[in-house]
Structures are given as C-alpha cells and as structure tokens.
C-alpha cells in the first residue's frame, strides 16, 4: 500500500502543505527543528489516530490556530480511499472516504505504518511497557479481534484493580472476584495466545534479518516472557488453566497490593543473541542491530498478515546506523515498500541508491522539491 497524496493545514509548523508522493522513496532533508518529523507524525496519525510522540492532542495544532487538518490519499491493492483527521483542542475526528468514524481508534487498519526512529533503538534496552506497546500495536494493526480483546481486557483489569483495593480496605468481599477473574482469564488468555503466535513468527523473521545484517555471525532469538511461566505450544484452554491456577495462588498477594499482578499486562519480550540476554549484556551496536532486525521483521510480518507491505517511516535513523546497516536496510525496502526518510544531510548510501525517489528540502515548514 502507499500514500499518493498528503495535505496538511495548520498542523505543527505547517500552514498549508500539499504533496504528491512518490510510490517508492520520499526523502526529506533539512536542518534541525524545521519540520521533518512533523511530516512523519502526520502520516503516523493517519494510520493510528494517535501521534507517536505526544498524548496531548493540542500540541499538534499550530500555535496561532484553533484546529488542524490532515488528509491522506491511500492506494491499496483492492481499493483507494482518503483518510481525514480534524484535530481540535477537545479531540480528534476521523473520516474515511468522507464517512465519519464513531471513534478515532476505528482508524487502525486502514493505513498500516511502521515507524522507526532513534527512540526505537531503545526498544531492546528500554522498559517492558515499551515492548508491550510495540507488540500490541503490531497485532492491533492487523487483527481487529485482538484489538477488541485487548480493550476489553484493560477494562476488566481496571474494574478488578478497583475491587482488589476495595477488598483490601474491607469494603467488599473476596467472593466478588469470581466474575472478574473469569473475564480476566478469558480475555487475557486470548491476548496471550495471539502474542505467543506473533512473537514466534516475528522471531523467525527477525532471526533471518539479523543473520544477514551480521553476516551470519550472530543468532537472534525472540522469546515471550509471561507472568504465567508458559512453555511453548499451548492451546487456549491450557493457557486458561495456567492463568486460573496462577491467579488463585497469588490471591492474597494481589489483595495486599490492591492490583492485579498476573496477566498479559505484566508480560515482556526477551531478546537473546547467541543465547545471551541482549537487553542486559548486549553492546549498544548489538542492541541496535536487534532493533533494526525487529523492525524489518515487522515489515514482513505485516505483509504476511494483510497481503501487502505497510508504509515505512524512517526518522533520522541513518545518522544512528553505520554504513553496512544502512545499506542492508535500503536493500530490503527497495522497490517494494513505500518509504519516508528524514535526514539532516543526504547520506552517501541514499544518493547511491538507484531507485525512483523524490527529494525535498524542508525549511521552517516549507518544502521545496530538489
């Protein structure tokens, strides 16, 4: 899939911007603080309904304006459509082909994107929450059932945590947990099962990518680390059983703490290179290679799930990756993935690339084609 056009109005430091996009590669070159990332943010917003860098909607509206507007023209295998977003201080509204969506998160799935920015290089060594967010978004973009289950799971979790506090304060009885446990286990097990499947697929793909980047000298393994101590190849009912037992054995601890400590909201992903935990013991270079391999695996994973490649947003990553990694990255995406790259200068690898591409120079929210 690819974007054929992008239109911005009062978004960040852009007044009005109208762009026809290259099907292959779009390069945005400019000094710091000129508006490069803002463009990628707008595209990401069309894809997920949220910014990748802020939770505060009003930050995206130009300082001198009341509302912002973003529109993208999407071309997919079977159909073409437009996505529009109206951003106001009190919230966002989305339209697909001029039809309003009830909720902003219904946008997910129309335009699939993968973003790769210097912060993503932190994915491996960062907090478990970051990795859960990664895996959740990954699956949610391609699977609406997962999205639904996760949303319901989080609601049950909130209710259950409230109840656990009530029980601790003796405002409620333990018996009341039953109806929430059952739902937590039901929904949580479905979430876990899908994550296990995905981590396995992603793991195979990432291992291949990783091996090529490292010339076969390193082997990457991806593992799902569950608070339920799961082994591989479990069926849904087996996961439910484990969940049920675990929850019962942690009953008193959960009440003492006043929140749920068992379930997918406490799970994590583990990266091993040559059987060594790379989060703890990997060099910075190894952690970056792992993150890169994971991002490229994402591309192939989405392709296998939805039948076409998503759009790739590369924010300033070339300054962080060495020549060999750059080269490999470009080789993978060449001619098959629509890619948006921002950079402060034209990288050697990029200019060498014999590929249909558009160059733009960005200065204070104005674009010129070069």
């Amino acid at each position: 899939m690819y974007l054929t056009g992008l239109f911005l109005n009062n978004f960040r430091n852009y007044n009005t911007l109208e762009l026809n996009l290259n099907k292959n590669l779009n390069l945005f070159i400019g000094n710091n603080a000129q508006g490069k990332t803002n463009i990628l943010e707008a595209i990401y917003l069309l894809s997920t309904g949220n910014s990748h860098r802020t939770n505060i909607t009003s930050e995206m509206i130009n300082w001198n304006q009341e509302k912002a507007y973003v529109k993208g023209e999407v071309s997919r295998k079977e159909r073409n459509f437009s996505i529009e977003l109206l951003i106001e201080n009190r919230g966002k509204k989305a339209k697909v082909n001029s039809n309003s969506l009830k909720k902003i998160n219904e946008l997910l799935g129309y335009l699939n994107t993968i973003i790769f920015s210097p912060e993503d290089l932190e994915l491996v060594k960062g907090s478990p929450a970051g990795r859960r967010k990664f895996i959740n978004l990954e699956i949610s973009q391609v699977n609406s059932y997962y999205r639904h289950n996760l949303k319901e799971y989080n609601k049950v979790l909130k209710q259950r945590n409230n109840l656990l506090k009530d029980i601790r304060e003796k405002h409620s009885s333990q018996e009341m947990l039953g109806v929430w446990d059952q739902q937590l286990i039901d929904l949580g097990s479905k979430v876990i099962l899908k994550r296990l499947e995905t981590v396995e697929k992603l793991g195979i793909l990432a291992r291949l990518m990783h091996r090529k980047i490292t010339d076969g000298s390193e082997t990457l393994k991806l593992k799902y680390k569950s608070s339920l101590d799961l082994s591989n190849d479990l069926s849904l009912s087996e996961i439910k059983d484990k969940f049920d037992k675990k929850i019962k054995s942690f009953r008193q601890q959960e009440i003492d703490k006043g929140y749920s400590i068992v379930g997918p909201h406490r799970d994590d992903m583990l990266f091993e290179v040559n059987d060594i935990n790379i989060r703890k013991y990997g060099s910075q270079g190894q952690q970056r290679t792992t993150a890169l391999a994971l991002k490229l695996a994402e591309l192939e994973f989405m392709k296998s799930e939805i039948g076409e490649y998503p759009i790739l947003l590369l924010d300033d990553v070339f300054s962080e990756l060495d020549g060999k990694r750059c080269h490999y990255l470009l080789k993978v995406i060449k001619n098959k993935v629509q890619t948006f790259i921002t950079s402060t200068k034209v990288n050697k690898e990029l200019s060498k690339l014999d590929l249909n591409k558009s160059f733009y120079r960005i200065k204070k929210g104005t674009l010129t084609s070069i």
């Binding site: 319901e152 609601k155 909130k158 209710q159 409230n162 409620s172 009341m176 929430w180 059952q182």
Partner: protein, 199 residues
C-alpha cells in the same frame, strides 16, 4: 459563565449535568427556553416535575410505571414463568420492539461496577431473588449489556441462581460488542433471542 446573568448561568449549569449535553448545547437550550412563551416554559417545568412525582417503580419488575404494577406485568397474555433481566427500563423498549418476547422482565437499574462503587447490593437483586423464590419461575434470560460490567453482572446472577432449578440463558450472539442493548437494531436482537444460549 460570568458573562451571564446569574439565573441563566444557573440554568446552563443544571443543563450541563444532563448526559450528552456539553456547555455549548446547554447554552443553546437555555436561550431557547428564554425565548419561549411563559406557558411553554411552565408546561415544560411541570412535565419534568410530573414525571418525577407520578412515575414509580413497578412493584413486581422495577420497570418505571405510572401505576403500582406496570402494563407488562399486568398483561395476562404474557408468560409470567419467564423473566428477562435487563439493566435499564430503556432496554425493555428495545426488547419489546422486536415483538418476539412474550415473557416478563426484571429491571436491575444498573450493573456491578467496582469503579463506580456499585456492588450486588446496589442493584435490584433482592427483589429478583424473592420473585424467584415465590413465583414459579422456569426460565431466566440474561440480557444485561454486552460489556464487561454487564458480563460480570450476568455471571454473578448465574452463580446466585445456581441452587434453583431454572433454565438460564444469556443473550450474546450478534449483539454489537461493547455497545448498549438500546442501540442494537431489531434484527440482531431477534436473532439474539432465537440463538440464546443455555449457560
């Protein structure tokens, strides 16, 4: 608010408390009321007061009713051995529109929700239990909302009714998940009724 005369500000404040009414709509409504004739305003005020004065809960099913017993509970053609449990009176309206259901109802006026501090004692489960103990109830249909609170409430009732010999089913199929029963269209509801599952 300081730009309004105090009584107007007060009215806007009251209207904003209503569900689905934001400050802008409240302002529009307030000025609409101000522009209306004296008679119109009095009639509106009286109607609002009237509904509170004259509508009570049906002594059998807790449905809103102008009389001691609601019209559904009074209707002798209905099957009083089957009870459909709903969260709100408005769910009865949605159910009745299907024309499929011939039993009676029980309105809980809420669902179990720890976040809002609502437990089983805060919804009308005691009167349900007395009904089941005293009347010859054969079947109970759980039509609480298809969200996590409605689900928890349904599960709780299943456990509560375990000692009784009653067929219990849950409406679940074809309903928009996460939505309210009120919004389900008639076709999906009819289908749901046909396909109700025994729990």
């Amino acid at each position: 608010m300081k730009h309004y005369a105090q009584p107007i500000a007060k009215l806007i404040g009251q209207l904003t408390k209503l569900p689905g009414i934001g400050p802008k709509t409240a302002q529009r409504l307030a000025f609409y009321i101000l522009d209306s004739t004296q008679e119109e305003v009095e009639e509106l005020a009286l109607t609002i007061k009237d509904v509170k004065d004259n509508i009570n809960y049906c002594s059998v099913c807790n449905n809103f009713s102008a009389e001691e017993v609601c019209s559904i509970c009074k209707d002798e053609t209905r099957d009083t051995n089957t009870i459909c449990i709903v969260e709100n009176s408005k769910d009865i309206v949605a159910m009745e529109r299907t024309g499929e259901y011939k039993g009676v109802y029980h309105v809980l006026h809420g669902s179990i929700s720890p976040m809002e501090g609502r437990g089983p004692d805060d919804i009308r489960l005691n009167s349900l239990l007395s009904r089941i103990k005293e009347k010859n109830i054969e079947e109970v249909i759980l039509a609480t909302d298809p969200n996590v609170e409605g689900e928890a409430t349904a599960m709780y009732i299943v456990r509560l009714l375990e000692p009784f010999e009653i067929t219990i089913s849950r409406i679940a199929h074809g309903l928009p998940v996460g939505g309210d029963l009120e919004y389900a269209d008639e076709v999906t509801l009819s289908k749901a009724l046909e396909g109700r599952t025994k729990v």
